[in-house]
Symmetry: D3
Subunit: 257 residues, 6 copies
């Protein structure tokens, strides 16, 4: 079941979030019981080479692979798809124009302006003709626009109306900074939660997918309740931190008796 | 003989097309009897590091090296030249403004706005003074604008008139998608062939070089007849495919007697 | 003492200038008695991966680390900070609009639009809370706008007035090309020296830091006299050249007696 | 069907021979219609890191992966298995003692002395318990001893009798140098062909697998007739050479009409 | 406090165990609350390059760094020290002769035969003269011989008597295979536990350090009770597994309410 | 003129000494006015991959390239030649048996046992037939045995008599440690200088080449007087140190007036 089909079925999907640009680390992360893996090129360390190689690592696990591009790097959105990504997340889509540029890079004509050349992605996908790849890709690959500023929220309906935009991804830390006008960073800032819920609601009403980053696992139930179905979590640093606490806790308990 | 001199002499020049971002693979490809090697950063996997290192691999073979940049990444056009490239191919030059930005990144003042700093390119070139490098580079390095959409074709004369644009490179797969409004991908689509010929003709009339990607070798004679002189072919995948067919064919013939 | 504090104290600060994208080479360069190290992504070979890894090499030496981004790659300015850079140098800031985009990428709201996510930078910095990182970063990290063309010089006062721009960095080679309308490259071109001095003066009057690249060490005293305090020099190539001359000179003297 | 099962069924198996230490190049090679891929660490450029990453590339294609280690590097034989290799080829096994050391590194006790720790290999294999991995590995992974000198040929029966040695791999170029006492290198040297046939015959009589490198495809039928079933061919250089000849041949034919 | 001092003070020391040959992954692992980090070149994926770069990552955290070399690769023991390692663990030290070779590679004359050349290790260590480095290294760096077979156990007293061997490291999985003559792999095999305890006891009686790998945290208290003070645990795979269980557990609990 | 020819002509040859495993750094070092470049795998950081790629960097400069292997790693001696090295330096050749193993790995039969397979070296060399490569290599590539201990000195005549050993390379730091029985490290230790001179003398009498590492340039004249012709110096660290002193000295002088 592709990511598009899974989300269309309204299934909760939890993606790990890789920031270490190394295909072996990604291979180990993809072997954990997450539903998908995202490679982060904005705040994480992933780059062209690591994305190209790490996509294969995730594909070997049979899971979908998403790529978050740096701000405004729509050339990389197309490249991620050419390398085999199932979805791309674009940060700081703050206007309809941003959304249009993003969509153009993600979809073949006539929807967008994606250029032909799936050099790595097509062989990695399995047996498929060039013509079928052209015909099927626009539906199969997903474009998530990040909403994480006030202008983005104000432009939400317009962004949702752009052909080729498949979902909205909320960045709650940036949203809290925006909401507090730079005063605080708090991914569960209570004052913004109503707005976050509204984003999910309007996104679903527009027939598109709602996604969000979950830093504090305790917020998960609440955002699922709001309608978010794609939940991102589990950077290498976070998983290492949880794992070390758990492992050293068990060792120390054994030692101290 | 530089690439510029070779094309000025109207010689047919066939460039391999590397998509594997590894300088050793490029070294092996450059050792084959192609006339030049292009490093593809748009649909291929090449990136800053592989281009920097692979340019040296091609130079060791004595052949010209071209770089195709990702869409709109004119910062990289300048960098490719600073690393030692002889030419840059820019995809999706769909307007005169695109062409102007591209030319600006490729040529030193007063033609363009290329910034000074041939950190790797100048030592790799051989004995040359800074002043000579400044004076000679604009003529020696070539800027190829890709024409692969309807708007690009409509803007062709304007693009050809931009100072610093040295040639037009046709992307036939994208052009077929554009021509069919997204319906088919076919690098030898008959309906567009008249237009492809017209591009070569007008490019030559403008005193510039006509280039094209040749996926199906059987089309080569026809495009040469149209006036194209720089022919791109031979990605690692394509060469592997042809070579394996040939080698395994000979082995199997020997076994089956 | 941070780079910001050091420059605020008007101390002459000499930064090495790394163009080799390799964290071990940077480690060796950072061990030399320079005051700081700059990683060059414009004309040097540094890229996302090498910057991510080399910043750690410089930090291990206890010195500040600066990153020069490619032209217009403000996405990378934010990333350099997320990786732990203390300052970013942006080339070809030729207008107030350029300066505003650069500042936006460097400073968190409300000054700019930098996105939250110091995945590597915060753990590398040492013990600090997310909230303190948000509050302190805008003052601690420095944005240097390169002035190296005539339009840039004409826009200088406007650039200096942009909130978030902390200093001006003069690129003397490009400036000489600009000043001579493409005729010569000469980092100590006498005709432009009055203007170079004026840049330093106006920058200091605006309460900002004046920086310049010093290719010929004999110019150092003069530019310090003009008010420049951050002096860049010492690419790997230049240091190798000076060092080999010195070492082989001593060996040959010993042999020839 | 594993490599062991395939050879036990007496099926002709043709392995490509990768010498480029890059997992993407290996991915492309593995996608060609060879039956298996060998990573060469002796004369090829493969090393620990490339083997670790390239094994995953071959596994993604569903084909067996073999590793040829450098001379005497039995530590690497164990490591190749820990990384997931299906077989190891050891060069210059010139004595029973050499064969014993090799076998010791390849098989768990009580057959050999392989150390426990399939850090990467076991997760890559799929669902299997530690205990099953221990029990099944000795049969599943194959140890090929290279016979390529006169002493090796003289020790052949002893080598074949070493528990844990699963097959003999003939290196015909070295064998020709040995046979001619250093005078010629000729992988199809007629004088040695009777001996080559004898190696296959005695290997099969001992119930083990006979393998050989095939440089000239025209020899394939003859060596299959001798009883060799694992045939190695198709280095990147050879495949590039065959492929370029084929592709440029077609292009030139089209151009010349 | 150095690793040698820490163990001399009989402090329990828990080292993480890195198998991913990537210096950034090691940086993240070193930031977790382990007391030290070991880079595994035997069953893990570490190699010369990753060890060279990852040692710097661990040093940045202020923690000791150990390296486990492949079987018999005593050339690498010396290299690990030249790169800056504080200790080396050598697998399969099955005889006094093995121990002597290992010690020779670890200690400068007159104790051993380590060759001079701390190209990277000395600058990384901080201010120290060449003479002090020579004089102090033999005491500061630790050589751990792995005992994991019956012959090794039988030679234990001889191994402990070799000058330059500082400790014994028990590999419990291999030891269980050895103890069961290849029948089972079980790191807590009850039948061998008395022998494991005897190893610790005799090691401590010889004035040397006892170390062991702890796969199941519940065994930690027991082995500490036996006298082991250096406990290895926490490979990336294990920490990922514990961490994902913990994180996804919390998320799922939040969702299910 | 090859390295063998140059030394046969008794020309003083100064080789740089690279320890940074990065082909770009090596490219920059090779561009300096040294006569040759050595890649150090013993105390430097070079490894299989960096040697493979860096040999091409040195070859591009037209200079000979040498490789120093780790202690006892004769598998790597052969590989260095397969990658294109002109000479190999083997450390710690302390006995005739060591010298025989080294020579065996360096020379094709009948002199040695080098295995056939110049996968990279032959194409890099230029147009040459396989047969000529076989016939000419033994004379063209040079094997330098390092003499740096008392046993090595005692075995010197025997080592010099081994067919295939082309020269002796003195490691003066290790030799001083050996000479002082571990008490001091001093590459110009006066007490050993007579012995060092004797090594050169006996080496030349045997018709072989004398080489030595020169750390202090002031010793150069003296060792040339002894008969040494291949002088190694100029690690990246040393060249950086000399170069920074020279460059910053000039800058500071300019500033202080």
């Amino acid at each position: 079941m592709s990511l598009a089909e899974r989300l269309a079925a309204d299934e909760i999907t939890i993606t790990a979030w890789s920031g270490v640009p190394d295909s072996l680390t990604v291979e180990l992360l993809a072997a954990q019981p997450f539903d998908a893996v995202t490679l982060d090129m904005q705040h994480g360390g992933h780059h062209e080479d690591s994305v190209l190689r790490s996509i294969a690592s995730v594909q070997k696990s049979g899971k979908p692979v998403l790529v978050r591009i740096p701000v405004g790097r729509f050339d990389m959105a197309s490249r991620a798809l050419d390398f085999g990504a199932d979805a791309v997340i674009a940060p700081m889509i703050n206007s309809v124009e941003d959304a249009q540029k993003f969509a153009a890079s993600m979809k073949y004509p006539p929807v967008g302006e994606r250029s032909w050349g799936p050099t790595f992605g097509m062989p990695r996908y399995g047996k498929i003709s060039q013509q079928d790849w052209l015909t099927q890709s626009n539906d199969r690959v997903l474009a998530f626009a990040m909403v994480e500023t006030r202008p983005a929220f104000e432009a939400l309906d317009g962004i949702l109306a752009v052909p080729g935009i498949d979902g909205i991804f909320v960045g709650p830390s940036d949203f809290s900074i925006a909401w507090s006008n730079g005063a605080v960073v708090d991914s569960t800032l209570e004052e913004m939660m109503g707005t976050v819920a509204a984003i999910a609601e309007r996104t679903r009403e527009a027939g598109k997918f709602a996604a969000i980053y979950v830093i504090d696992p305790k917020i998960a139930g609440r955002v699922v309740g709001m309608g978010f179905r794609l939940l991102a979590t589990g950077s290498e640093g976070q998983v290492f931190s949880y794992g070390t606490a758990s492992l050293l806790g068990a060792i120390n308990q054994s030692i101290k008796g």
